[in-house]
């Protein structure tokens, strides 16, 4: 089977990329000034004691040995011990990472649904009022900052109208799926905003371009209704581009989510990573970056495979 082999080959391709990413994060962390052990223990420990603590984390070893040890820890010891919190890194990040993924997923869904919707409305009404309005919205929205937009959403929908919770992930007394969804709306929309507008633009452009293509003329000349041409032919032909943009935008979304988390007080890894950077918690930073990079690579892989599968020219 060529396809299975192809997928395995692409999976294998992730390994060298991950290696480069891990080596870079490792190096950048070590090369920036500041020392977490000094910062934490210098006040009440002797230099000898500090040296001993350093040795217990393996920080006295040559750089390459530290790297090898860390990579081994990634597979066997939960990403190594956090220098500040003294727990395996993945144990600390795990639950919050799931929360981040939930928020990202919500953002992706909002982005895909509303991005395509706005794009279709604008594209089918090319040069008419709905198109102009939608493009005005897109133009204005693209220039908003995520922070500001999030705060405005909170002010309108939570403080003034009282429809949705201000922040956090669940109400104090818990409340199941409905409660979670209510908490997801505002951060999801803020996270999705920019990507959604990018997607809307590409969808609109795709529809306009495909509308002028020869095959659309063929089917129009055969009396196929406009709605069906749009739904079947144009839809199918812009699908690969839409999937591609969504895939790319998931990457942007993950980065955006880290900011949104702090606005909405969402218990994700964003806050943790910011703290880890401040405390120079090498192992935690590295573990977090590797997790995010892995997500990124997997999303890219799935996108590529999906786009290939959607293109009849590449399928056989």
């Amino acid at each position: 089977m060529g396809t299975v082999k192809h997928i395995l080959w692409r999976l294998l391709n992730i390994v060298p990329v991950l290696f480069v990413v891990s080596a870079l994060t490792f190096l950048v962390g070590r090369l920036t000034p500041g020392d977490p052990i000094e910062a934490q223990f210098a006040r009440d420990h002797t230099p000898e004691q500090i040296e001993a603590i350093r040795a217990s984390y393996g920080l006295n070893l040559p750089l390459w040995e530290q790297y090898v040890k860390w990579v081994r820890d990634l597979f066997t010891a939960g990403g190594g011990m956090s220098i500040v919190q003294n727990q395996p890194v993945f144990d600390i990040l795990g639950p919050n990472f799931v929360n981040t993924l939930i928020l990202t997923a919500a953002g992706v869904v909002i982005c895909a649904v509303f991005g395509v919707l706005i794009g279709v409305i604008a594209g089918t009404a090319h040069h008419r009022l709905p198109d102009r309005l939608a493009m005005l919205l897109v133009q204005a929205g693209s220039n908003l900052s995520v922070y500001w937009f999030g705060l405005i959403l909170i002010w309108i929908f939570s403080l003034q109208l009282g429809w949705l919770p201000v922040g956090g992930m669940e109400s104090r007394n818990g409340g199941g799926l409905g409660d979670l969804l209510a908490h997801l709306v505002l951060p999801g929309v803020s996270a999705a905003l920019i990507s959604m507008l990018v997607l809307a633009r590409f969808t609109r452009l795709g529809i306009i371009q495909e509308s002028h293509s020869d095959y659309v003329r063929t089917f129009t000349s055969q009396g196929v209704p406009r709605r069906r041409i749009l739904g079947k032919h144009i839809g199918r032909n812009i699908l690969p581009a839409v999937v591609n943009i969504i895939g790319l935008e998931i990457g942007t979304l993950i980065t955006g989510v880290i900011f949104v988390e702090s606005v909405f007080n969402w218990p994700g890894i964003g806050t943790q990573l910011v703290n880890a950077v401040n405390g120079k918690d090498y192992t935690l930073i590295q573990g977090g970056v590797v997790l995010v990079a892995l997500c990124y690579l997997l999303v890219n892989l799935v996108t590529d495979l999906a786009v290939d599968a959607l293109n009849p020219r590449l399928r056989r």
Binding site: Y215, T218, S221, Q222, G223, N237, R313
Partner: protein, 581 residues
Amino acid sequence: MTPMTAPAIPEGGDALLSVRDLSIRFGRGPGAGRVVDGVGFDVRPGETFALVGESGAGKSITASAILGLLPGGAELTSGSITLNGQEVISATRSSVTRFRGSRIGMIFQNPLASLDPSFTIGNQLREIIGLHRPATRKRHQHEIAETWLRNVGIRDTARVLAAYPHELSGGMRQRVMIALASLSGPALLIADEPTTALDAVVQKQILGLLRRVIGETGGSLLLITHDFGVVSYAADRVAVMKDGRIVEQDRRERLLTAPAHEYTRSLIGAVPEIGARFRLAERGLPRRLGPIRENRPAPPAPAPPAAAGPLVTLRNVRKEFVVGGLGTGQRKRRFTAVDDVSLRIERGEVFGLIGESGSGKSTLARLIGGLHKPTSGEIVFDGSTVSDLPRAALRRLRPRFQFVFQDATGSLNPRIPVGEQISRPLLRFGKAATRAASRARAAEVLDLVSLPASYLERYPHELSGGQRQRIGIARALALEPDLLILDEPTSALDVSTQASILDLLLDLKDELGLTYLFIGHNLAIVEFLCDRIGVLKQGVLLETFHAAELFAGERHPVTRELLDAVLPIHRDAPREVPVGD
């Protein structure tokens, strides 16, 4: 609004399609252009009616108007179109959607893009069948699709039904388009330049097929074309359009034998025909296509070649391309584009290379022009072996062989004035010492291609297609090359423009003592222009011969096939009725 020059429309009353006083304009306000101006004609049941004209004549837009498919910005200002007495469209209202597909079918110029690339042929045919016969079941739809593919001469129907458009050749796709447009048995089939994008051999098959399909469904064909060969082969009646008006319409035989209008005469005269150069020579006329003018200066006597011996020699040249391989997801394989070709091009001759698309003629030209390196074999240009030359030496040699490409628009930079595009290579290759010298030379070559020096400041989009190709030739000539490699330089041009470019090439060759390598797929043009002709098929040079020996008995079957594919203009004799393919 009927123009005075409009010929009377023969009133029969039994017309299938009636177009009356049709006017279409582009844009609004004072800058609006009237692209179709009071056009009227009838298409009778069962006949093939050809609308002939050059680009910009308004023939395609007339055809689109019949189906209500006018491009954005175009507007019907007056006139009416009726089918069997029922109004299809008029300036005030349109009921065209009822007629689309079921009563009027349309076939477009570009078969490569006219089918949806994302669905199989079977899927697209079934969609149209389902639309026109909503009651048919899926299995039955499949059978109808299969029958129609067989009707248009496709034998392996199972493969084609399951194929995507990109898996079929251009000719196959045009067959599928014909099936798609005719399967509902429309009374009128409109074919807009159906064979312009196809090879000569395929063109003849497709035209034959169109006539057969019309014969079977009992419908009429409205054929839009710029090619009088096509008219002569396929049409019953003809209307000639110029600048949005019909200047003349008549039965085919009458129009081809004794054209009444000056414009028709000049169009027919511009078509290169097999044997024309020898007929001209017999009558003591120069070998030129354009109208014979009294004051036309006699072409200069051919300049003698500077030295004897071949200018280009190819010995066992072979070029392989590697397709696929690591990272492409496809298996790596080799593909031989040029296979063991040996030939000589003598100084001062015009060597023609002919073959169907994909036969390797452009690759061979690129090898000779040093744009590709051969996989094996050697290419000698004026004593130096181009194929082994180091980069710097090859660069010094480059000004001596120059290219003129088919796509004149694509080979000019749209953002730079054309003068700059001619003078830049002069500076780069050290042919001109100063900017002023290069400008002067650019003006000089512009004069050679009969364009005023004021054109130096123009941008490519301000020029017509023919003028752009003249610029392409001027740019190549500026470097004073010995060899001009002409890769289908006229196949994107109108007949009259093509005639003037071919005449220009002949004039320049005589004046400057150039050597040409001319690539084409139309044997009539190659025969008219070239001294010797080489025939390529699948990368193999089948034979080379002198143009005068084209009809000799020992010609290769492939050459005969190409000769057979030329559609001559039958002036007096009744047409051989093309049936089948």
